[in-house]
Symmetry: C2
Subunit: 127 residues, 2 copies
């Protein structure tokens, strides 16, 4: 892949990932995750460790049951060697910000996430 | 380990990692890396991929040859499940900021880094 292809793959993967979190039906979440999540990919954030696509799909469905209409907005990613970081905000249905954070991810050559490790809150500063 | 122990291990690992980058002799760098870097640990940033402790040690020695007296200052880390993120600034000998970035790392149960993936520049923002 050229660098442009890689960036495009990352943008597409993040957009599909965000869209999956906004879905409420198990079928829709699974359909999107097949496109964007490796079958054995691991998702970890301060609250949970999810091993494999099926656990991620279950978690997303329960997320939308808990916070109906919630959605993630994402920054453009920084990317090198298949590794990405991107910032996000979690917005409730009424537009208020519920949380913010940053995801560190590894994208496979097939354009699917192998791992995401998320951190909550504003980024630390060395200043 | 308790949570306090884990945080203490992370703080110590980051301090030793920063100290290693400020060393100019191969012996000192190697001695510090034995404490803080897994033998097969991988370091990746936008400029390089280093596989194993020996490659990391070589790279640090050349870094100090290229930028004598340069040093890193680090933020406190955010940590969960053995994963860390921390911000850094690279200061030249005269104190000017040469670069800034963020490292995303995995710390083994022995307190040594298994992986670091670094990103350069200010963090992306979803706002």
């Amino acid at each position: 892949m050229t660098k442009a292809d890689t960036t495009q793959a990352a943008d597409k993967a993040i957009a599909t990932w965000a869209a999956a979190w906004a879905e409420s039906s198990t079928e829709s979440v699974q359909r999107m995750l097949v496109q964007v999540w490796a079958e054995d990919g691991q998702y970890t954030d301060p609250n949970t460790v999810l091993k494999g696509r099926a656990e991620v799909a279950d978690y997303i469905v329960k997320f939308q049951q808990r916070l109906p209409g919630a959605r993630f907005v994402y920054s453009k990613p920084n990317m090198h060697h298949g590794f990405l970081r991107f910032a996000w905000q979690l917005l409730l249905m009424d537009g208020t910000i519920r949380n913010e954070g940053m995801d560190f991810a590894e994208l496979g050559p097939d354009g699917r996430f192998r791992t995401i490790v998320g951190f909550f809150g504003p980024p630390p500063s060395a200043k």
